[in-house]
Amino acid sequence: MPKKPASGRRRSASSSKKPPLKASWFTRVSRWVLRLALRITLWVALVGVLVGSGYLYYLDRSISKTFEGRRWSVPAQVYAQPMELYAGKRLTNAQLQDELLRLGYRKTQDLSAPGGYQPIPGGVRLHLRSFAYMDAIRPSMRITVMFVGNRLQRILAGNRNMDLVRLEPAVIGSFFPSHGEDRLILTPDQVPALLAEGLKAVEDREFDAHKGFSLTGIARAALVNLRSGEAQQGGSTLTQQLVKSYFLTNERTIERKLRELAMSIILELRFSKEDILTAYINEIFLGQNGARAIHGFGLGAQYYFNKPLNELPPSQIAALISIIRGPSYYNPFRHPERTLRRRNRILDTFLADGLISNARHQDAIGQPLGVVASPNSGGAYYPAFMDLVRAELSERYSASDLRTQGLRIFTTLRPREQANAQQAVSNTLKAIEQERKYEAGSLQASTVVTDTQTGEVLALVGGRQGRVDGFNRAINARRPVGSVIKPLIVLSALESDYEWSSLVNDQAITITPPNGEPWSPRNYDGKTRGAVPIIKALALSLNLAAVDLGNRIGLDVVQGRFADLVGYTPKNRYPSFFLGAEPMSPLQLAELYGNFASGGFRTTPKSVIAVLDEQGTPLSHHPFDVTQTIEVDTATSLNSGLEIVMRRGTGRSSPFAQRGVAGKTGTSNDNRDSWFAGFDNSRLSIVWVGRDDNKPTGLTGTSGALRIWNTMTEAAGPDPITSATSENSIAIEYDTGLQATAKCADVVVLPIRRPDTLKPKSGCGIKTSFGERLRAIFGR
């Protein structure tokens, strides 16, 4: 838009020589273009500022939210049962030291700090770590534990006798999110000074002064790297590394660098240096363990050294710092020498910066790397048991609660039992495969071990590779249980009018159920034995006798008892149920047998004791849940019969058969599944052996699962059943069920509710009871 002339003087000056019309047009257009450009620039700048502010706002929101979120997003920690120490406990000095090693205690002469132990003649001295249990806090303390033989003799704190001391429980897992990031969150006061100062010395010298980035840092790194010829130092500040770690990406673009830089500056403006350093220490990626990403120094210390961070000596702090630069390149398990060289350079930096003395430097340089034997031997990790914990907690806690709320979950797992069970599974399967020349790795197995009285799960093995988070056969594999079901028929019989001495028919039979196919079961050996007492039929696991007994009692009655004992109705509504054509998981079978092993109480297997929040406030307690399902006398009687199964029947090959243990073997059709359910006074174990492809294994319950149980029992030590002997325990002949004595017949002693109904074996000198004489007279 042309403007009017500015003044009269200019007009008079210009009136003498009129400007050419063409030039005036050009000038006007030029001015107009100039003004337009100026306006566009202003608008663009304005929009730019607006968009830029918006972007900065977005970056601010994004980084602040991530920072705050990560700061408080703490996966739940899951603990095993702590080992209780008290005078008289069956425990050897060696077993205690094993447990201490499992908990990451180190053997040392210097017990000034927690986490160390020192063997002494007849015992061990140790400095316990402090721990907040679900019912109390135990401060760190020094104790001496003395042993006599295989028993703990006494515990001393100074010269005081202690009645009871707990070790800390092992951390057995955590509920990390699906993206796999696991971490243990530390507060600033839990961060060792050497780690904080060491990180700055190695990674970011200007950390305390810079505002998120450091030009001198970049220059120094470039110089160092130029001199050494390798990338020894990076130019990124700790803040930049933290931001980079939050948004894991390997994209190397200017745009990403600028974004990181902006976010770093924002973090520095928003949060204190202490907050940023602590976040870094909790966040930085330190390694990968299967699906689990190890983040932060707290978890890193557990993963690599099986110790709390505050117990690491300078050499191990330096080793952890050395990993930051490249958790794969400086993987201490795969590249120990490379990591050791870098650790030593870092120790030199510690010395040069005056962070450690000459003497400590000398000592540290001489130390080996000191990582645990293998990635999985450190902080215990039991994925199969964790499945059970997860399932139990899912009723009450959301997955998000478990991943972010820092819950502390106390469980029933006993690491020693778990290690025994896992080892028994792995070793026995390997041995069977070698003996039978099977393809290595073709067999699988799973076990559940519970406390007989409380139903608490002490160990759970989901497959032969315990540390691998794979298919959990103990919980999810439902296979036909075979003869393991038979005690249920016998229970139903004992609850009716039957005695152990009652005769059943072990003879060929064909059953045609309504709406069903004709069914002709057979005994395992193909033979029939005619009339046999129930005890012999159970001990030898005679199929035809079991079907006969089941038919007499009635399928409905037996299945009704099944439902009482496990809480659900069986799937198979045909008589083949009597022979265990009913798929069950080892965990479900543990529930069924829990009724027997506990002496008549249903105790659903459980794994969680209590859940506490991050501050230690109890959120829920999961107490024992017992419900009487079987009369005490009947349960005692059934268990006596199951002891005979071990002494005389299919369990007799076990080295513990004569030592007061009860159990039952099971084999499914074509030897596809080999089962054993066994218990003593304190432990109930269910063992399954089979193949994942469900092909025949050639194994019976005796030649497969029982062998694993034998190995487990060997390691744990059997605890003979101490059920009170019934007043009605009577010797009966094993083959006939007639009342007899050991002098005149092959007898078994079992509770008989109505002794007057027993028929005596002739020639044994047993007087006929009055009731029997009456029955003889009246022909009943």
């Binding site: 049962q81 209780e84 120490l85 008290y86 005078a87 008289g88 406990k89 907040a132 249990y133 679900m134 019912d135 109390a136 806090i137 135990r138 401060p139 303390m141 704190a157 005081r160 006798n161 202690m162 009645d163 009871l164 001391v165 707990r166 009723e395 009450r396 406390d451 007989t452 009285q453 409380t454 608490e456 002496g599 008549g600 109480f601 004791i609 209590a610 501050q615 230690g616 406030t617 109890p618 959120l619 829920s620 307690h621 999961h622 107490p623 024992f624 849940d625 017992v626 419900t627 009487q628 005490v632 006074n681 304190s682 101490t722 059920s723 009170a724």
Partner: protein, 185 residues
Amino acid sequence: MISLVQSASSPALVRTRNLLANLAVVFLITGCASTTVQTPQPGASTPDRSSSSQSGRELPEVRENEARPKAPTIAPPRNSGAQTLLARADTALAAEQPATAVLLLERAVRIEPREALLWIRLSQAHLDQGDSRAAFQHARKAIALAGSQTNKRTAAWLQLANVYQAQGKDGEAKQIRNRYGRSSG
């Protein structure tokens, strides 16, 4: 699953009745225990400190050697660990902290699972929490485990009587007390 936080809604009457009933059993059993249980020596006490700062569940000091009525001797748990925990659970019960008592007693049961005395106390602790179903089942368990140990069996049956009474089944309670009250002398 139960909450550790005690329900404040239980009627005062039931509480009082439970308390009286339980005190009777406490007297009966702890009285017995005091004649045979070796109580922790002063200064030899437990290393675990109540986490009062965290949960507000501070345990009062254990007072031993107070005069108690004479009652038949009940053998204590076999090992010192369970004994110690039982003594602490008794203190918690006396201080009306049944939730703490349950934790301590379950810990003791993990050490000595077949000790009827511990299950009797667990029944009592559940009853104090107002959970009569659990109290009933734990008493049944105690009876089963007591087996032929006469005094423990008596104590277990009397605990079951307490449960019946709390459930308003006075007839059943009376029947048990008639049978076992006398024999407990």
